[in-house]
Every structure is written in structure tokens, then in C-alpha cells.
Amino acid sequence: MDRISTQVIPAPTIAFDKVCMAFAKPSGESLPVLLNIDLALREGEILGLLGRSGSGKSTLLRIAGGLVKPTSGQVLYRGAPLTGPSEGIAIVFQTFALYPWLTVLENVEFGLDALGLALDEVRRRAMSAIDLIGLDGFQSAFPRELSGGMRQRVGFARAIVSEPALLLMDEPFSALDVLTAETLRTDFLDLWVGHQISTKAVLMVTHNIEEAVMMCDRILVLGANPGHIAAEIMVSLPQPRNRLDVSFLAIVNDIYSILTARMVQAIGVHGPIHGGLGLHLPDVSSSRIGGFIENLASPLYGGHAELAKIAAPLGLRSHDVLPIAMALGILEFIDIKDGAIKLTAAGRVFAQSEMDERRRLFSEHLICFVPLVAHIHRVLDEREDHRAPRERFELELQDHLNRNEAEKTLRTAIDWGRYAELFSYDDRTRTFGRNDAKG
């Protein structure tokens, strides 16, 4: 089977038809996480799902794997409705999900159990998968004896040992260090391009733009709240791809622009005008914000920069920049437009100020532009003892965000509020206190 020529368009390996997914909130209402997802994964293709946390991309992958039933809509695997985990579909997990009490060989054989093969056939196929994926000699090792990279190799071997037609990968490289991840990506691409694995199509979830451009033939950018397909980008560069290639960078830049445009829009929609308590706050500490503004104000950038080009000189990974930019955008210290950022007047003042002045400026902007922080501040003011339990805000947030997101957003709000000295928070008693109220 030739993966490159698409003269005859084969039936999609997996297809989503108006798939929606919602979870129940503590209050009983339903929280939509995916809205009207239509997609078709063609044979011979690696399709990337790119989105930040909260875009429902992992849920989408679990639906494709038959692990989660969609609230509405239909999933077709090779033309037939998918009702649960199915033969021919295998998952590579972000956390590896290896059984610590089984050896490498036993973990790989685990992937064959459902096929009910004879013992010697199981052993033969497991050994050849181990061989192929570069684990030779480690058969009798336990996962704890292996490095992260080797563990994920076991994860890959377990997934491909049953020769699945569809391989689902849930951020498979994100738990690995940069170098190991790169090696594993390259090794996988070698197998894929060289037709050494029988897999017909790959669906990969990632939040790493460069990784998506490196590996995928097509990228779907997911927007959040609820998750939907915001853009589709074809990547027609030949493999192996070069990160420094001009056309590679151009695609990375394009995706940045799309993501930032969506970000600005999201801020606009959920912004202070709409009293958006549920404004998702990126997981960025106040110290990072200060450092980033200083850098942006330095002569090197002179107050503006292209997002795609700012990461490396700051010693950041490219996908770390986006949350910081988003935080600064929310606080109106920068303007974001077409994948480029520019310090606002307030941002410039911040960069030139001393610590106390910075703190004052930061707290003003927090009150103005972050409804959650303003809300906490107001509640503490109104209460006689100027204290409030964390749980109160957690529950309020969970009406807008899912539990995980609510938790992260509140954590960021606490960090920012502490820095601005707007309130204090005691993690032992899990209560907020007004800053002048001792506590």
C-alpha cells in the first residue's frame, strides 16, 4: 500500500460525524467540552490535533479509541459505527501506562491478549515488535529499570504489536526530555515512512506546535470552550523535515498566528465586559510575567516581537511562550496581533518601574481585567472577618470551567493576587484573607 499517492481516495480510517461531548458539572448542569466535531482520518496520513489544555483534545482521542462514548454524534471506524474499544485501534499513552509488575516482554504481550493467539505466536510477535522498536535485550527488565524514553518505547511496542490499522497517540512525547523526545519522534517517523509498521493512519494529540509540524501531514487546530475545530493546516513538506527550513518556520508561524488570533478573540469574548468569571487563566507565575516584560522591553526587541521567534533567545520552549503571552494579553500589558506582540503603554511603564510601582500597576490591572481576582477581592472586602474559604470560589468556577481547569485557574489567581498583595491565602486552612487581615 502506498501512503503517498492519493489517486484513489480510500475510505477514511476513522470519521467523526457531528460529535459532541459534555460532562456533568457539580451543579448538575452539563459542561460541553466538544462541539460538532467533524473529521475524517484518511489512510496513509498522520493527523495532528493541536490545542491548548482545555480544548478537549484528549477527550477527542479517547472517543476515537472507544474509551469514551460521545454525548451525541457518530464515530465510524472503517465505515462501521464504533461502539467501544475495537480490534485494529491501539493507543500510546502520555503517561506510558505500563504495568510495573510486568516485564517489558509481558507488557508488550499484553497488547496481543485480545487476539487469542497461540503462546508461541504471541512470543514471536512480541519479540519482533521489541526488536523493531529498539528494545532488544530489555525483554526481562521491569519498567522501573528503564529510562523515560525506553518506557515509552515499550508503550509504542505494545501498541504496534497487534498491527493496528489506526494508532492513537496522546501527547506521547510530552513526558520526555527534549532530546529523548526528538530521538523517539525520529525513530517513529523512520518506521512510518519506511513502511515497517502495518499501521495505516495515525491520530496524534499534541500541544507542541513544532512537534505537530514535524510529524503531521495535516493539523487540526482546536479552539476551546467548548472544543471545536478552529483551523485545518496541510503540511506537505517531505520527510525528513528540517526545523530550520524556511517553509517549516513559515508553517509554525502561521499556526502561531491562528492560535494568537483565537486567543485575542477568546479574551474579547470572555473578557471583563461580560463579567467572565470563567476566564481561563494560563498557568504562568507572576515572576515569569515580570521577566518576560523586561526582556520584551530590552533593546534586543524594543518592545515588540514575533511570537515564533521570541522563544529560543529567552531559553524558553516555543510552546511555553504562548501561555505567557496570553497572560500578558489578559492583563493588557501587551497587544497581540497576527502572531506578533507589542508592549502597551502600561507594559512599558511596568518595565521601567521599581518593585513597588510594579506591584501597584499589576494589582490595578488585575482588578480591571481579571474578573476572578476582582471577585475574590470584593468578597473579602464585603465579609466582616475578611476571610473566605477556597471552596467557595472553586464551586463558582466549576460552573464555567471543568474541575481541572478551575483548579489551575484558581492557582494562577492566587499567585497573581499574592504578588499584587491584593489578598493572602493559607493553604493549610484553604482560606483566603484580605491582605491587611492577618492570616
Partner: protein
């Protein structure tokens, strides 16, 4: 009670009268504890797993299991005495379940705790690879809950030993039933106020409990720890 001395080594040191403990009392109770823990495990491990994997059910069942573990089981003994007398049952068999009545719940709630703490990615992996039931129990769930189960089983068997003192001899009004065994021996000697024999009985029990812990449970626990650790 049958007579066939089995504590020669202890009695050699015991200078007092030897009548009374020259019976397979300790062995009998040990056998009972082992069988009861095995039966309780067969019953409560599957149920505990089924409950622990369902968070809502866990929230409801776990407090009940903990309450039952704290409930003084000997309040129910008279009911057993009545039934045994009423239906003319053999005390040596039918009194025995009383030993585990109060402590079996430790197995249940530890297994529930283990199943609900089972990593969700490992569960998902098992589901997505569609492993068959036998393998699911053998390679996924049982190893996963094993350290929790061992904790529960240690507590349950220790508790059963203690309970044997009050459950191998049971009375309700004038009716008095005895199932024999080490617990019955200690209870009878306590009634008779025979301090040396109480001491001997307790010493034998302690030796047996400590020996089981050392020879069975501790190696099992160490094995579980070693196998289920990831780093």
C-alpha cells in the same frame, strides 16, 4: 475434644500441671483463621474491586464497611447460639464464622481503597487493549490492589485470632457452646482463674501470630511493595 499432644516443646518448659493444653488447640485455630481469611477474601475481593472502581458506590459503601469493622460483633453471638441450638448444629463448625464476623470488613475496605486508587491510565490501557477477564484479574487488578489487600488481610487475621477467645466459647444464659481451639482454651482457663495456663495460652497465640506475620504476611508485603513500585 480429641486428645493428641502437639505442644511438647512448650510444655517441657511449662512447670505446672500439663493437662489442658495437650490438644491441637493452636493448630486448630490457625487452620480456622487461614480458612476464614481465604473464604472472606474470595467473597470480598471481587466485591471490593467492583465497588472501588465506581466512585459513587465507593462513597456510599466505604463508610458502611468502616462502621461494620468498628461494630462489636459479639453482640450478634447470641443469635448464632440460638440458631446452633435450635437446629442442633456442630459448634466446632458453626461457631467458627464468628471469628471473622467483625474483622472481614478490613479486607473489604482495604480492597475498595486499593481499587479506587488504581491508576486510571492503567485501567484505560486494559480497556483499550481489550484484555480478557482472566488476564484482567491476573495482570491488572489483583497486582494493583495486592499491597492494600495484604494490609487488610493482616488486620483481619490478627483480629480473628483475638476474636477466637470470645467466639470459640460462647454462652447465652445457661447455654454454653464450645468449638475447641486455642481461643476456647484461653477463655476456659480465664473462667477457671488459672493464671499459668492463661499465660501459656496467650504465649502460644502470640508465637503463632508473630510467626504467621513473619513467615507469611511480611514477605508477601515486601513482594507487593517491590512489584508495584514504579521508581
Amino acid at each position: 475434644m480429641p486428645d493428641c499432644g502437639s505442644y511438647g516443646f512448650l510444655e517441657a518448659r511449662y512447670r505446672g500441671p500439663t493437662s489442658g493444653l495437650s490438644r491441637p488447640t493452636g493448630g486448630l485455630t490457625l487452620l480456622r483463621v487461614a480458612v476464614l481469611v481465604a473464604i472472606a477474601s474470595l467473597v470480598w475481593v471481587p466485591i471490593g474491586v467492583a465497588v472501588g472502581l465506581r466512585p459513587r458506590l465507593t462513597a456510599r459503601v466505604q463508610p458502611v464497611a468502616q462502621f461494620l469493622a468498628a461494630f462489636p460483633a459479639n453482640l450478634l453471638f447470641p443469635v448464632f447460639v440460638f440458631l446452633i441450638v435450635r437446629f442442633d448444629l456442630t459448634p466446632g463448625i458453626w461457631l467458627v464464622p464468628l471469628m471473622i464476623l467483625g474483622t472481614q470488613w478490613y479486607i473489604l475496605f482495604n480492597v475498595i481503597a486499593g481499587a479506587s486508587a488504581f491508576p486510571s491510565d492503567l485501567r484505560e490501557a486494559a480497556t483499550s487493549f481489550r484484555v480478557r477477564p482472566w488476564r484482567w484479574w491476573r495482570d491488572v487488578m489483583l497486582p494493583g490492589i495486592f499491597p492494600y489487600y495484604v494490609t487488610g488481610a493482616i488486620t483481619a487475621s490478627g483480629g480473628a485470632w483475638n476474636a477466637s477467645i470470645v467466639s470459640e466459647v460462647v454462652s447465652w444464659g445457661p447455654t454454653k457452646l464450645s468449638a475447641g481451639g486455642l481461643g476456647a482454651y484461653i477463655a476456659q482457663m480465664t473462667n477457671a482463674g488459672d493464671f499459668p495456663r492463661i499465660g501459656l495460652g496467650i504465649a502460644v497465640m502470640s508465637v503463632l501470630v508473630v510467626a504467621t506475620n513473619r513467615l507469611v504476611w511480611r514477605p508477601l508485603y515486601a513482594f507487593a511493595e517491590r512489584r508495584t513500585r514504579l521508581d
